[in-house]
């Protein structure tokens, strides 16, 4: 066991628990629990968005992928700023003005119907649970490798912490933790960048140049690997850039801001952080290749997930290794906290309060159910993670993005922008997108191996157009149903785009 790393992890977790305790004084109502009362400012939400988005998969996964595969790993880094620009342009403000606690609220602002609400909640749950399992398994394996803690112990402790954050702190506590995590991750990455750059005479391109000199130009150039591999790359980046707009735990952050301006400001703050962070990852990847070596990276972990901590060790000794390991663990906790809030909202608000109880639930009971849902989903995710330990979960992240890009994203966009869209189309889009994205993954090479029926590992290239197609076909099929038409589109558009008017004020806490 690495004593220094365990001590730093313990100290950082103590800070997050202190933040949660402080936040618990503000977590007294349903609105505060799910969306921090809608009072978060632009800078704070931007940092929290960065805390939500910059996962261990980004930091460790991309660094390792660049170190082992060269340019192929870089594809994962380039899409996030573009995805956030799309989010800022298309969804952030209308979602903020139409939604309340969950993504389904924004769709329900136009279309009534418990079936649609339940479908939206199920799609949100599918995306969030996949994402949550990845975080749990990744955290367990990393805790094992970095800290010397057993996998089941690590998963249960992390699940327990996630439950405490969610029950006590709600979205207020989650926001504080994500801001804290973003700050420590940025400082740590910056320190690593300074040390790495100093090793190359102050030239940030030094690691790339050294790698090209030692391993050939091919290590820093894109590869053409045949039609299927190229289509897979295009599908991966398409799923990433479009799927971001459908990720419940990311999009729900736009429901926490006080007004439209804060929504835009927060997206922009997050984009500046992403630009710096993702531009630095290839530098870390090539520096790890140069200083740690491919054989040592693979010996630690086949996917290269320890390339970044090993690089830290190479340039800063055990202290920097321990700091990076601790920051990675806090990173996972912060992402899990956001996921738990979004998931508990889908269960307690969409499924229980609206779909099951038709809204006839007192605010106190809603809050209670929301807290229990957070604990319940933690138990479920822990059990799945314990079972999934031996599975190769690396592909699940791409699956989560592809499902989001094929289900929640098309339905949100069409609800906000297409005048003729109707409830039948929304349900058809959700079901078609969910079935096609998951079905194609199950029929693809990651699950079926050489006997695969579908050649791509990431189905977005097919499932996203199919999701839109189902929504369009469902809309045509439902045109004769007056109930399916929903509320008048012009009224919705005026609420969604209060251009030059007022955006909805912060949510007042129900008594």
């Amino acid at each position: 066991m690495n004593g220094t790393a365990v001590a730093i992890v313990t100290a950082l977790i103590a800070v997050t628990l202190a933040l949660t305790t402080y936040a618990s004084r503000r977590n007294k109502s349903t609105a505060e629990h799910y969306v921090a009362g809608g009072r978060i400012g632009g800078l704070q939400n931007g940092l929290a968005l960065a805390g939500d988005q910059l996962s261990a998969a980004s930091f460790l996964g991309i660094t390792g992928a660049v170190a082992l595969t060269g340019f192929e790993g870089f594809y994962l880094a380039v899409g996030v700023p573009a995805a956030y620009l799309l989010m800022m342009l298309v969804i952030a403000e209308p979602l903020r003005n139409l939604g309340r606690y969950t993504l389904a609220d924004a769709v329900a602002a136009r279309f009534d119907g418990r079936g649609l609400r339940a479908s939206m909640a199920v799609a949100s749950l599918a995306i969030s649970v996949i994402y949550m399992v990845i975080q749990f398994v990744g955290a367990g394996l990393l805790a094992q490798l970095l800290l010397g803690v057993d996998f089941p112990v690590a998963v249960i402790v992390i699940g327990g912490l996630m439950t405490v954050y969610t029950i006590l702190g709600g979205m207020v506590g989650t926001t504080y933790i994500q801001v804290f995590k973003a700050a420590v991750l940025i400082v740590t990455a910056l320190a690593l960048l300074v040390l790495v750059t100093a090793d190359y005479g102050g030239n940030p391109l030094g690691p790339m140049r050294d790698a090209a000199a030692r391993f050939g130009d091919g290590v820093i150039a894109p590869h053409q690997g045949g039609l299927t591999a190229s289509l897979d790359t295009v599908s991966l980046t398409m799923g990433l850039v479009l799927g971001m707009m459908g990720l419940p735990h990311v999009m729900v952050r736009f429901l926490t801001v006080r007004d439209d301006r804060a929504a835009r400001d927060s997206a922009q703050v997050a984009m500046w952080i992403f630009a710096g962070f993702f531009a630095a990852l290839p530098i870390f990847g090539y520096a790890a290749l140069d200083q740690v070596g491919k054989a040592a990276i693979v010996a630690d972990n086949k996917a290269g997930n320890l390339a970044a901590p090993r690089l830290a060790e190479a340039v800063g000794g055990n202290l920097l290794f321990s700091i990076v390991a601790a920051v990675v663990m806090v990173t996972i906790l912060a992402v899990l906290a956001g996921l738990a809030i979004a998931t508990s909202g889908a269960i307690a608000h969409d499924l229980y309060t609206v779909a099951l109880k038709r809204g006839e639930v007192s605010p106190q009971r809603q809050l209670l159910v929301g807290r229990f849902a957070g604990a319940g989903i933690a138990v479920v995710a822990i059990l799945i993670a314990l079972w999934a330990k031996t599975l190769n979960i690396a592909f699940l992240g791409n699956v989560a993005f592809a499902v989001a890009a094929s289900t929640t994203m098309p339905v949100l966009v069409l609800t906000i922008y297409w005048r003729h869209f109707n409830r039948t189309g929304a349900v058809a889009g959700l079901i078609g997108g969910l079935v096609s994205s998951i079905g194609l993954v199950l029929a693809g090479p990651d699950v079926m191996g050489d006997a695969h029926l579908f050649p791509l590992t990431v189905p977005a290239l097919v499932s996203v157009p199919f999701g839109f197609l189902c929504a369009w076909a469902g809309t045509l099929a439902g045109r004769g149903d007056a109930d399916a038409a929903g509320h008048p589109y012009d009224e919705l558009a005026r609420r969604a785009f209060p251009v030059g008017g007022r955006s909805r004020p912060a949510r007042e806490a129900p008594v």
Binding site: F71, V78, I220, T237, M271
Partner: protein
């Protein structure tokens, strides 16, 4: 049991005629959807060019053309975000549209 209270709603400037606001909404939608289409197209050009062609395969003095293009793909959205934020803030502040 009490029904969940409805949140306060957003809406247009009450002093502005409804049809004028609707026209502004239509214009806003055209601008954001057009900008989004351009963003998506430009972004997707990067993986398509990099994986299907050799256009971004050049290397000069240890620096790859693919990384230069990738850096542009990372940084260009920032310019778009700054421009959009300024445009919307100007409208909200009552400036020229």
């Amino acid at each position: 049991m009490t029904r969940t209270p409805e949140p306060p709603q957003s809406g247009p400037d009450p002093t502005r005629p409804e049809n004028e606001h609707d026209a502004m909404v239509q214009r806003h939608k055209r601008v954001v959807l057009g900008a989004a289409a351009i963003t998506f197209t430009v972004f997707m050009a990067f993986p398509i060019l990099a994986s299907f062609t050799g256009v971004l395969g050049g290397v000069a003095d240890g620096a790859g053309a693919g990384y230069a293009a990738g850096l542009a793909v990372i940084l260009l959205p920032l310019l778009g975000a700054v421009a959009y934020r300024r445009w919307t803030s100007r409208i909200e502040d009552g400036g020229p549209r």
